[in-house]
């Protein structure tokens, strides 16, 4: 079972659980509907599109409302701590959440108590807390952008807001930063570093670089990293190797972006609707 976890930008701390689906351009989770915006909703929408495309079961979505106060995040952490041993997910994609070491420690203890550890994919706030907790090597996949890679490489930074001065001089130092992130034990088993060139890495080794098609406008569009995370989770659920899932997701995201003919003002849903076409295109390559 694929489980997708994260917060959505609504007030209230309730945790919503249910199969995810796209209905009338919104994501439906159980009886609740949420607009498809950047963040967790974009990740879920992309995963739902891929699951539908390949006839996979709908993902189980666990979301809570949080506008930054952390209360909804606390509810999510508690839900995961209490229910992971009962739900026994095979794959988990963990996304926007308020980083909190204490709660993360409880979460990772619950995960490690399972007979078979689920495949753990983390991005955004969950990746931040996974790194700072010292448990990054327990994760299977992180999907940082260049700024977040710098944060992973900097052993002292508690958040991407703090890096020791090299954040803006790094575009030509990506490979060095990848090595540092692994040396510091701040990287998951696999990294997909998103940028002008995407880097797929395993254990410090760069397996593949993807730089075509190059669509600079995607950097300005909120949610273009979230869709990659959602696609990876669904493709791993389909049975692809992690390496292949990363490759196809990175390529499909670029192609979907190109098909949407974006400007920096384009919104993420316009790109998500192009994912099936992008996957078809990759199949034909």
């Amino acid at each position: 079972m694929l489980m997708l976890v994260g917060t959505v930008p609504i007030n209230g701390q309730e945790v919503y659980i249910g199969e995810g689906n796209i209905v009338n351009n919104k994501i439906a989770i159980g009886n609740q509907v949420f607009p498809i915006n950047r963040g967790t909703a974009a990740m879920i929408a992309a995963a739902c599109v891929v699951c539908k495309e390949y006839g996979l079961p709908r993902p189980l979505c666990v979301v809570s409302g949080d506008i930054g106060l952390g209360e909804g995040s606390a509810g999510l952490y508690r839900y995961l701590r209490d229910y992971i041993p009962r739900l026994i997910p095979q794959i988990m994609a963990l996304h926007y959440i308020m980083p909190n070491w204490y709660y993360h420690d409880e979460f990772i203890r619950a995960v490690m108590s399972l007979r078979q550890k689920p495949i753990l994919i983390a991005d955004a706030g969950f990746m931040y807390v996974a790194k700072m907790s010292g448990f990054a090597p327990k994760y299977d996949i992180f999907t940082p952008d260049l700024g977040e890679l710098t944060y992973l490489a900097d052993g002292e930074a508690p958040h991407p807001f703090y890096t020791r001065g090299f954040i803006f001089h790094m575009e030509d130092r990506v490979e060095e930063l990848i090595k540092m992130a692994y040396q510091e034990e701040n990287a998951a088993q696999f990294l997909l570093v998103k940028g002008k060139t995407d880097y797929i890495c395993r254990g410090g080794e760069i397996l593949l670089k993807i730089d075509e098609p190059d669509i600079p406008e995607l950097e300005a569009i909120g949610g273009t990293g979230d869709t990659i995370t959602g696609m990876i989770a669904a493709l791993v659920c389909k049975g692809l190797s992690k390496e292949k899932a990363l490759e196809i997701s990175a390529k499909a995201n670029r192609i979907a972006g190109k098909l949407a003919c974006p400007t920096p003002a384009t919104q993420i849903f316009e790109i998500i609707t192009r994912i099936p076409e992008a996957l078809d295109y990759i199949r034909e390559i």
Binding site: P9, N37, Y96, P160, T163
Partner: protein, 190 residues
């Protein structure tokens, strides 16, 4: 989630400021710890408007929870500063002398010109504005839960009329977006 509710009992694998560099220590400085990042942002606003020279910084490792800010201030001014904050209704939960170098937040900005649009990046946050209308058209980056909320509230609003991220945000990502917002305003003022 209060800052001191979840102080880590065991040290994290990597601890900032514990590498023996004493040069950065400033015994004349202290830091103010607040219940949450939103209060830090409010207190900074109050103190700066009153003319205090304070800086928002990263906390030392022993009180980090993962997404925090503190305010560094001259210790000698402690009483006056606490009084100012009390009057404004944003008292800190703790005042601590600086014993380790505090982490410096990112202060540099990166601009990307898309022709019709300008994108400003501050730390991990990016804000994009249409040049002609000065309308905010996109927000990207970040990983804290207030980012999607801030994006929802800012997008499609003119830069001058949009709420300031510091008035709605609660986290370091929200703070970074505020820096991008201020830089964007400077760009168009220039």
């Amino acid at each position: 989630m209060g800052l001191f509710d979840f102080i880590r009992l065991k040290p994290a694998k990597k601890v900032a400021g514990n590498k023996g560099d004493k040069k950065g220590n400033k015994v004349d400085r202290g830091f103010l710890v607040f219940e949450n990042t939103s209060e830090v942002i409010r207190a900074e606003k109050v103190l700066k408007s009153e003319g205090w020279e304070v800086r928002v910084m990263g906390p030392p490792p022993e009180i980090q929870t993962g997404c925090d800010l503190v305010i560094e201030f001259p210790l000698i001014e402690e009483l006056k500063i606490l009084s100012t904050l009390q009057k404004a209704g944003v008292s800190p939960i703790k005042v601590v002398p600086v014993e380790h170098p505090l982490l410096q937040p990112v202060e540099l900005f990166q601009l990307k010109d898309f022709g019709q649009y300008l994108m400003v990046r501050a730390a991990n946050m990016k804000l994009t504005v249409e040049k002609e209308s000065l309308k905010i058209v996109n927000v990207s980056g970040g990983g804290c839960p207030d980012v999607p909320y801030l994006a929802q509230e800012l997008i499609n609003k003119p830069l001058k009329e949009a709420p300031q991220p510091r008035d709605l945000g609660f986290t370091l990502c929200g703070y970074a977006l505020q820096l991008a917002y201020e830089e964007m305003q400077r760009q168009f003022k220039a």
